[in-house]
Amino acid sequence: MDEPIIQIRNVHKRFGGVHALKGVSLDVKRGEVVVIIGPSGSGKSTLLRCINRLEEFDEGSIVVDGIPLDTAANINAVRTEVGMVFQQFNLFPHLSVLENIVLAQRVVRKRSRDEAVQNALQLLEKVGIPDKADAFPLQLSGGQQQRVAIARALAMNPKIMLFDEPTSALDPEMIQEVLDVMVELAREGMTMVVVSHEMGFSRAAAHRAILMDAGQIVEDAPPDVLFNHPTQERTKLFLSKIL
């Protein structure tokens, strides 16, 4: 039996007086796609950001692919294995689309320029915008920018992809093009943790859905169970508001 690729044990996080995570424990298996939902302020983004240590946690432990998140060297090692996609895309506006994807491959993975460019062009093909290589991020639509951001994260050949509300900043007609890329990625067997309220994606690709509230995991079940026959009152209440 495979060891879980992400092991989160009793993680606490406080922002000043706010107790954002109250002892969260979670295992994610290799190749699993986990969707996290919950009201704003429930700690779902914070939990996601703890996985690659963009957020420090106060108590507990997280082990990613056998590497504990403790020393600076380990944290960096984990970050190279974990790709992250942000709500606000966070592309580098001073670099062309191609250079956005090439930069970290060169600097972190120490690949040759030819190899990095080759890789970048393939990934742009994969996310469906091969003709935008020389454009600058701010010349693209939100959906295109988010797809570039996905390609940029994939260029590092991550074992895990984290998505922090990847479609929340997009116009409705651009959401689907990003979700299509994500579904495709899930089919290929990528381990994914996704904070998103997109039911379409959950139904099409997720293995598990988790509801968080007030810094705790309330319910953890397969998506059709969680969305259609939730056992917890809190889940029912939340779903009644977003559906």
Partner: protein, 380 residues
């Protein structure tokens, strides 16, 4: 050295300067042709003004450059034999110093031609690119300096000749200090943003203390007080090298200006870095970059574009404040002006000339900074 030998050296310098001016003009011609499409057109009625502009520009800039080079070196043909050494040195300096000015006449003619005809660059549908009209102001001040030196050589040409070496001191004190300020300001700015409270505290104290003390007082401290502190320290530790320590005026001036301006500059850097959204750092770190890599490849390239105007501003302020080093025995332009006045008693003309020379330098720097800014602007 033989007079003949000196004279030939002197001609070599002048001819070298003319060649440099010619190359400069050719470069400017190519630039104008490529960027503005102004000079050569395959055919059409409008050809003549461009030919006139080309010839006129060449003549104008040669005259301007030549005057700059020759007038400012006290050159009188009958005196060649007497002051050849001085002439060789002076001509070389003057050519170098005013090389940027050679092209200005050329640029002025281009601009006049362009404004008069308002042409479309060849093969382009874009609106014609205008040369920055504020260059006219630089040219005007330059012409004023030259005009005064030419039509009223006594005292204006004498003043310029006298403060000439001070111009160099002002320029290199400013440039060296500014280069160091850019480096130490960056360190200070990063220190202000450090997570380590000791580093952050030290950087904050440095900035707050330095900003609270007038730069003149700081310069006095470095030149007068600091060396005697070193001497006392030497006596205390019985180290002869420290007891014999003598302050080098230029070194102390550069140290003082750097120490002071780096504090201001670190605030500029800090503001620039903070203006870049936090998401940029997070994105870079999430890709596995270290803090230093993220700074170098992601944050600073963006911050530099943001801070360019205030950095340019700091440069110009530093150029002007470099006049304060005249109180600590550095023979800069201001001090040379004061020395000239002390022996000639013509304050109005002396300080008018010194002021114009500073103005020429600052206006010129402003244009350069402005050009860089236009070029590096991010598409938003």
């Amino acid at each position: 050295m033989e007079v003949e030998q000196l004279r030939s050296m002197c001609w070599q310098v002048l001819i070298g300067g003319l060649v440099a001016a010619l190359l400069y003009n050719v470069a400017l011609f190519v630039y104008a042709q490529r960027r503005l499409g102004l000079i050569l057109r395959p055919k059409g009625r409008a050809l003549r003004p461009y030919v006139l502009g080309l010839v006129g520009g060449l003549v104008f800039s040669f005259v301007l450059g030549g005057l700059n080079g020759i007038l400012l070196t006290n050159w009188r043909p009958t005196l060649v034999e007497i002051s050849t050494v001085e002439l060789v040195r002076g001509a070389g300096e003057a050519w170098l110093l005013f090389l940027p000015v050679f092209g200005l006449g050329w640029a002025a003619v281009l601009m006049v031609v362009q404004l008069a005809i308002n042409v479309q660059p060849v093969g382009s549908k874009d609106p014609p690119k205008k040369l920055d009209p504020w260059w006219l102001m630089v040219i005007a001040v330059d012409l004023l300096v030259l005009g005064l030196a030419f039509f009223k050589p006594d005292p204006f040409q004498r003043i310029v000749s006298y403060v000439r070496d001070g111009i160099w001191v002002t320029i290199y004190v400013t440039l060296i200090s500014f280069f160091l300020v850019l480096i130490f300001g960056l360190l200070g700015g990063l220190g202000r943003l450090a997570r380590n409270p000791i580093v952050r505290g030290a950087a904050t104290i440095y900035v707050e203390v330095i900003r609270g003390i007038p730069v003149l007082v700081q310069l006095m401290f470095w030149y007068f007080a600091f060396p005697s502190v070193i001497k006392d320290l030497g006596k205390l530790l019985q180290i002869q090298a420290l007891i014999d320590y003598k302050a080098n005026p230029v070194g102390m001036a550069v140290l003082g200006l750097t120490f002071c301006y780096a504090a201001y500059m670190s605030e500029v850097y800090r503001a620039g870095i903070q203006s870049i959204s936090k998401g940029q750092m997070e994105a870079a770190r999430s890709l596995g970059m270290t803090y230093v890599q993220a700074m170098r490849y992601v944050i600073l390239p963006q911050a530099v574009r943001v801070i360019l105007p205030p950095v340019g501003n700091e440069f110009i302020t530093l150029l002007k404040d470099s006049s304060l080093v005249s109180v600590v025995a550095v023979a800069d332009m201001t001090r040379r002006g004061r020395e000239f006045m002390a022996s000639n008693f013509i304050p109005v003309q002396t300080w008018l000339m010194v002021a114009l020379l500073y103005l020429l330098m600052t206006l010129f720097s402003t244009r350069i900074v402005n050009g860089i800014e236009q070029r590096t602007r991010l598409e938003r």
